[in-house]
């Protein structure tokens, strides 16, 4: 075992900033990271044990105990629950003989919950030993457990029915479907590989930045920061070493567009990174890919290799003197907060994914304290397209303040879930019609951190000036219990994903869950509900977007669906807490003293 540790560390030249890769590689060989292993790593890297432990304990996919020969991570997202996750989970538990959060006695099967794995249009889905299993049912779960007990390989368990598009590529071979339902003019249009880079080398870096600025393209991750401006600041930032990050850590439940873009148009993304590198003067690109998408690793690495062979990456790219750019893939290990750019950078440095205090912003001091541009997958694709077709063309698409198209991930109660690339300015109603949704109670726009709107607002349009979204629309049908099935689930999600750094986020996300449960059980008072709106003010003082938006599921439903809360408030006299149950509180004492009585 000591050999494994040393070999892996040698592979990364003993570089402690590669701790994420080191831990993941060691774990994949040894199965888990024991105290002893952590001790060995600490000695070999010559850093304190606690520095390693804090990284290990931060991410869902690092295991300090064995997690079984077959490790099932079953998604707990709202969409999985909509599609019958509970039944599937029950079957797994019954047949494997252990509860979720534990491993069967013989160590064969480990069952674990995991947050949204980006398969919202094909739920319930699970990751089993790094492979994705979609559209699970009780029957399939039964089959899987039987296969595990018979000692089948994951490859055999997966079967040979592969998904559409590149999912059947020999290097992917996954049952995942891309489900591109509508192709727009920007991301999913046909393109000639390499054309973006070829165009770029005919221009100066300043010309590119001016072009991107005049296109008014804004960051597609949700915040909508003007991309051209970001690049300009990074270009002007002092220093020779700069980095381009592509943020592919889409963890927002209900979002899966980056997965599809990376599956179907990876070259467009990589070209975008190279163009960004050329414009900013960076030679290093890092694709920060969420661990859930590890099944794409070989495929993406092969594409990078091809691009190097075609002189689209590497040195003297396209024959241009001084245009050197290379891309490596950095995997996450399961943490939603790492989608926040400064947390992502921390994570890529091998640390806990805790957002940094800003300023300084990453464009000034980012990865390894060097100027760093972090762009969303879709943003980088748009830039390549703008380069090829020009900013005038791009400006004709979309609305006044939101140019171009948006790739949205549609899931939930509709007939045609999947990926839609639409121009900004479509209304929610337009989309509901397009995806064939009927009897819609609510739409969650922009995932849990966005807002939950009701039919009164379905005429609003998707755009930065009205309803901004990072790309997810979850459609909630009338039969759903909005508070229990959706809001409580999102609240639990934020509680689990809070990095714990800021007190309001850490404490109130936990409190919110308890109070939401009370509300659902009919044991809350009006004051409990009113508290959320007050807390929202304090939450805005959290350091990052996660903390600032963690109460949005509750606060937006209080605003848009007040009657749902009102109907659950049973207590007439709010001087007493209906949630306190004296009988229950003395039950333990009664049991402990039952013999003496």
């Amino acid at each position: 075992m000591g050999n494994t540790v040393n070999n892996v560390i040698k592979r990364y030249n003993g570089d402690e900033t590669r701790l994420m890769d080191i831990l993941m590689d060691i774990q994949s060989e040894l199965g888990y990271l024991s105290e002893w292993t952590i001790d060995q790593i600490s000695k070999a890297l010559d850093i304190p044990k606690v520095s390693i432990e804090q990284t290990v304990s931060f991410y869902h996919f690092f295991a300090k105990e064995p997690r079984g020969k077959y490790t099932v991570y079953l998604n707990t997202s709202v969409l999985a629950v909509f599609c019958g996750r509970d039944e599937v989970a029950k079957t797994f538990e019954e047949l494997a003989g252990c509860k979720f959060g534990s491993v069967s006695k013989d160590g064969l099967i480990g069952l674990f919950d995991t947050a949204c794995i980006g398969m919202s249009d094909q739920e319930p889905a699970a990751i089993i030993n790094e492979e994705i299993f979609t559209c699970l049912t009780s029957a399939k779960a039964k089959e899987l457990v039987a296969g595990m007990k018979a000692g089948k390989t994951v490859e055999e368990l997966k079967g040979k029915k592969y998904g559409d598009g590149q999912n059947s590529n020999p290097l992917v071979r996954s049952m995942v479907n891309s489900n591109i339902m509508k192709r727009g003019e920007v991301v999913f249009a046909d393109y000639v590989p390499g054309s973006g880079i070829k165009k770029a080398v005919s221009m100066s870096s300043n010309e590119i930045i001016q072009l991107v600025k005049s296109s008014y393209v804004r960051g597609r991750g949700g915040a909508g920061f003007p991309t051209g401006m970001k690049w300009e600041v990074a270009k002007k930032a002092p220093g020779d070493v700069k980095y381009i990050f592509c943020n592919a850590d889409e963890g927002e439940p209900g979002t899966f567009k980056d997965r599809v873009i990376l599956t179907e148009f990876p070259r467009l993304v990589f070209e975008g990174m190279a163009v960004a590198g050329y414009a900013v003067g960076a030679k290093h690109g890092i694709l920060y890919l969420r661990n859930e998408y590890r099944y794409l690793r070989k495929y993406l690495e092969d594409i990078l290799e091809q691009m190097r062979n075609e002189n689209l990456l590497g040195t003297f790219i396209s024959g241009k003197h001084g245009f050197d750019f290379n891309i490596k893939i950095q995997f996450g290990a399961g943490a939603y907060v790492c989608g926040e750019e400064s947390a992502l950078i921390e994570s890529a440095e091998g640390k806990r994914g805790e957002p940094r205090d800003r300023p300084p912003f990453p464009v000034e001091k980012g990865y390894l304290q060097k100027p760093t541009v972090v762009n969303n997958v879709e943003t980088l694709c748009s830039v390549v397209r703008i380069l090829i077709n020009g900013s005038e063309w791009y400006n004709k698409l979309g609305t006044k303040e939101s140019k171009g198209t948006k790739v949205i991930s549609v899931s939930g109660d509709c007939r045609k879930p999947g990926i839609y690339e639409i121009e900004w300015g479509f209304t929610v109603n337009d989309i509901l019609k397009m995806v064939e949704a009927s009897e819609t109670q609510a739409v969650q726009v922009g995932g849990p951190s966005g807002s939950c709107i009701g039919p009164d607002e379905f005429s609003r349009e998707l755009s930065y000036e009205d309803l901004a979204t990072g790309g997810s629309l979850i459609i909630i049908g009338e039969k759903r219990d909005l508070l229990k099935d959706v809001v409580l689930n999102f609240t639990e999600f934020f509680r689990d994903e809070s990095c714990g750094s800021c007190v309001p986020c850490r404490a109130l996300s936990g409190m919110s869950k308890l109070i939401m449960e009370r509300i659902i059980e009919g044991k809350a008072t009006e004051k409990d509900v009113a508290a959320f709106t007050k807390w929202q003010l304090i939450m805005k003082k959290n350091r990052c977007g996660l903390g600032q938006t963690a109460l949005n599921p509750i606060v937006t439903t209080i605003k848009n669906f007040p009657e749902l809360y009102k109907n659950r408030i049973k207590a007439k006299d709010d001087r007493f807490c209906p949630a306190f149950d004296l009988e229950k509180a003395v039950a333990d004492f009664d049991a402990a003293t039952s013999e003496a009585r």
Partner: protein, 183 residues
């Protein structure tokens, strides 16, 4: 202006908050000019004799008697104030919240070094006359609605005085940083 009526109680607390209350010293004379005490250890009135304006609660709830007492206070006091750390968060007594009640009782009555040899019949006291211990220590606001919270262990006399004065006279609370700064 009629005097405001004040009631106080110490539930699962150490009486330290009440001691701190007495530390308002000579201001006690000013206080009795503007308030009258009802149920409280200060005047030893055991039962409420009328509706009160202000109730001060020290300590959280560790047994069913605390709960009954607190509910009585809520019924009889128009404004109820959690006084000190134990009332607000459970305080020191809530350190047992991490340990199952059975384990606590076993250690206290059956297995602890000072009891192991002398509790031959292995009895955990449970006479109907003594209160039943709750599964954990609850802060007051988890049992009844609390209107105000005065932090501290104990809250400083100045804070208690300022708060009582403000409540009794309806004036704005004078709350300089020093009265709730603890480090």
């Amino acid at each position: 202006m009629p005097k405001k009526i004040v009631a106080t109680a110490s539930l699962a607390g150490c009486f330290g908050c009440h001691m701190s209350f007495l530390d308002i010293d000579e201001r006690l004379f000013d206080l009795i000019e503007i308030v009258e005490f009802n149920k409280s250890p200060i005047d030893d009135i055991k039962k409420f004799t009328k509706q009160c304006d202000i109730g001060l609660i020290e300590g959280g709830c560790c047994n069913d008697e605390n709960v009954h007492n607190l509910v009585e206070f809520r019924k009889h006091c128009n404004i109820l104030v959690s006084l000190g750390e134990c009332a607000i968060m459970g305080g020191l007594p809530s350190m047992r919240n991490w340990i199952p009640l059975k384990e606590c009782l076993d250690e206290a009555y059956l297995n602890g070094p000072t009891v192991a040899d002398c509790n031959e019949k292995k009895i955990i006291p449970c006479d109907p006359d003594i209160p039943k211990i709750l599964d954990k220590v609850y802060p007051c606001h988890e049992v009844v609605k609390i209107d105000y919270f005065l932090p501290g262990c104990p809250p400083r006399a100045d804070l208690i005085w300022n708060a009582l004065y403000a409540l009794a006279t309806g004036s704005k609370l004078d709350m300089p940083y020093e009265v709730f700064k603890f480090d």
